[in-house]
């Protein structure tokens, strides 16, 4: 049933998939063009991995947004399926599509820098980062779109940036916010220190565990919202 739901979603939202893939390829072309003279530095690769997987990870959230805009949610629920199957299929589809986005990134980078294959894309650190991007792309937004609809998601996307800018601005003039910003600044070095202490395998296993837990938490929150939602 889950596979049938995924097939249905891909068939009936095919134009959205096309837009996301086209957007991703265009973005990769632009980034590759802009960084071509700098050689194969690690920064663009990690940037590519994060942005290149975070943006298409929004795809399944957009499916939910379309359901909200065009009332297609009740169309899906009138099929012989359960609500939790509809939700599970979306979360699993986002996971299954993830390697496809990585492949699109790899192929575009490879084509641009032929014949050098961007092998760093598939390093454990890159994969952990791309998983983090997936969690960022689905985690907060899917429950939000279920709760507040398509417009709620758009407001959220814009609102998050407004909140970010406000906190940064306040941080410069108000000491409690400065402490918050300091904490955020210390997060990077802290994680690096933890990485050095634990070593690669344990650190990466921990990262995957924490990210999986966050993804599962997002699913549980979405399920609780979806269960109460009337079609």
């Amino acid at each position: 049933m889950i596979l049938r739901l995924m097939r249905k979603d891909l068939m009936l939202n095919w134009h959205m998939v096309t837009i996301v893939v086209a957007g991703l390829v265009l973005m990769l072309l632009f980034v590759n063009f802009a960084t071509a003279g700098e050689g194969d530095t690690s920064l663009p690769v990690f940037l590519l991995v994060f942005v290149g997987t975070c943006y298409p990870a929004l795809l399944t959230t957009l499916f939910a947004g379309i359901d909200d805009r065009h009332r297609t949610g009740s169309f899906a629920l009138a099929l012989p399926v359960r609500r939790r199957q509809v939700l599970l299929s979306r979360y699993l589809l986002a996971l299954l599509l993830h390697p496809a986005w990585l492949l699109v990134i790899a192929v575009s980078c490879w084509a641009w820098r032929w014949p050098r294959f961007p092998s760093t894309l598939f390093s454990p650190e890159s994969l952990a980062l791309s998983f983090a991007a997936l969690v960022c792309g689905v985690g907060p937004w899917y429950p939000l779109v279920l709760r507040a609809g398509f417009m709620g998601m758009l407001y959220g996307l814009v609102g998050l940036q407004v909140v970010g800018v406000t906190i940064t601005a306040l941080g410069r003039s108000w000491s409690p916010f400065e402490r918050v910003l300091d904490l955020v600044r210390r997060l990077g070095p802290g994680l690096r220190a933890l990485h050095a202490r634990l070593g690669d395998p344990w650190y990466l296993a921990g990262v995957f565990f924490v990210l999986s837990a966050l993804y599962a938490l997002s699913f549980l929150v979405a399920a609780a919202i979806y269960r109460r939602k009337e079609a």
């Binding site: 049933m1 049938r4 097939r7 249905k8 068939m11 009936l12 939202n13 095919w14 134009h15 379309i66 065009h70 009332r71 297609t72 009740s74 169309f75 629920l77 009138a78 099929l79 012989p80 399926v81 359960r82 109460r228 009337e230 079609a231």
Partner: protein, 287 residues
């Protein structure tokens, strides 16, 4: 007689609306018409069968199964036409049908194509280009091509032209001929129900006013038309609703025989149509 759907004290509360413990049955092999004014709860009842809305209490069963607990098995045996069919705007009808076909074990693509041809549905067209009537026809084609035992139609005839409306009614009558299938059909166009329904359930303000065989309803319910004497306190228990008009008083009764006996010389007692019952119950003063 076996029931295909059973509502037992089904309750649902929303802001400004309450379904107050609704109970009635849809017998297998018959067409049941669901009538009532806007906001009476007809769509909510249909959605409860499809588990699209969660009931707050009571029981809703279809094919002997709980509509919430066994929703997959229940929905697999239902063909549902919503009041406002919605689908993916940019998708072609053929794509939509192909996407949902795998969900039904008994889906018959040849039958779907046949129905699409009969209904004049252009399968290459996109959903957003269809008129309301065409959308309803498409939903109907989807509902009829997987051998559903129960057809739920929520206001299907409102957007249809009279020719197709008549055709649809004939088709619904044909569906129940094998005595295995039933139709639950909500509509404002009560003339449609007078033509094809076997049973009528009248819902008003979240309550069932009556649920009975159509012939019994049309036989028992009557309108008495006369003067002010109809407002006599001795007569009022006989009436369910009374309305004063420019041409006198109209009173609705659920006991036509008694009304004829008692009002013989005071008023004209006529059979009430479903329309009369709905209008007087809605617009008249409760007696």
């Amino acid at each position: 007689m076996e029931n295909i759907v059973e509502f037992r004290a089904a309750r649902k509360r929303w802001r400004g609306f309450e379904l107050k413990g609704v109970s009635f049955d849809v017998p297998r092999g018959y067409i049941m018409g669901l009538i009532g004014p806007n906001g009476a709860g007809k769509t909510t009842l249909m959605k409860m069968v499809m588990n699209l809305v969660r009931r707050d209490g009571g029981e809703v069963r279809a094919f002997g199964l709980d509509c919430a607990r066994d929703e997959v098995r229940v929905k697999a045996r239902i063909g549902y036409v919503p009041d406002e069919p919605a689908c993916h705007e940019d998708m072609r009808l053929a794509t939509i049908a192909s996407a949902i076909a795998p969900f039904y074990e008994r889906w018959d693509m040849n039958r779907f194509r046949g129905l699409a041809g009969e209904f004049g549905l252009p399968l290459g067209k996109r959903w957003k280009t269809l008129s309301q009537g065409m959308k309803t026809k498409f939903s109907l084609a989807l509902a009829l091509c997987h051998d559903a035992e129960l057809i739920l139609l929520d206001e299907p005839t409102s957007g249809l032209d009279p020719v197709f409306r008549r055709e649809l009614l004939e088709r619904l009558s044909a569906i129940i001929q094998d005595e295995r299938r039933s139709v639950l059909f909500s509509t404002h166009i009560t003339a449609d129900l007078e033509r094809i329904a076997d049973y009528i359930t009248f819902v008003r303000a979240g309550e069932v006013v009556f649920s009975a065989p159509k012939d019994e309803v049309l036989e028992r319910w009557a309108i008495a038309r006369g003067g002010e004497e109809l407002l006599d306190p001795g007569l009022t228990p006989l009436f369910r609703a009374v309305r004063r008009g420019p041409h006198g008083v109209e009173a609705l009764t659920a006991d036509a025989a008694e009304a004829r006996r008692r009002l013989n010389s005071h008023a004209v007692v006529e059979r009430a149509t479903l329309d009369d019952i709905m209008v007087l119950m809605e617009k008249g003063d409760p007696s």
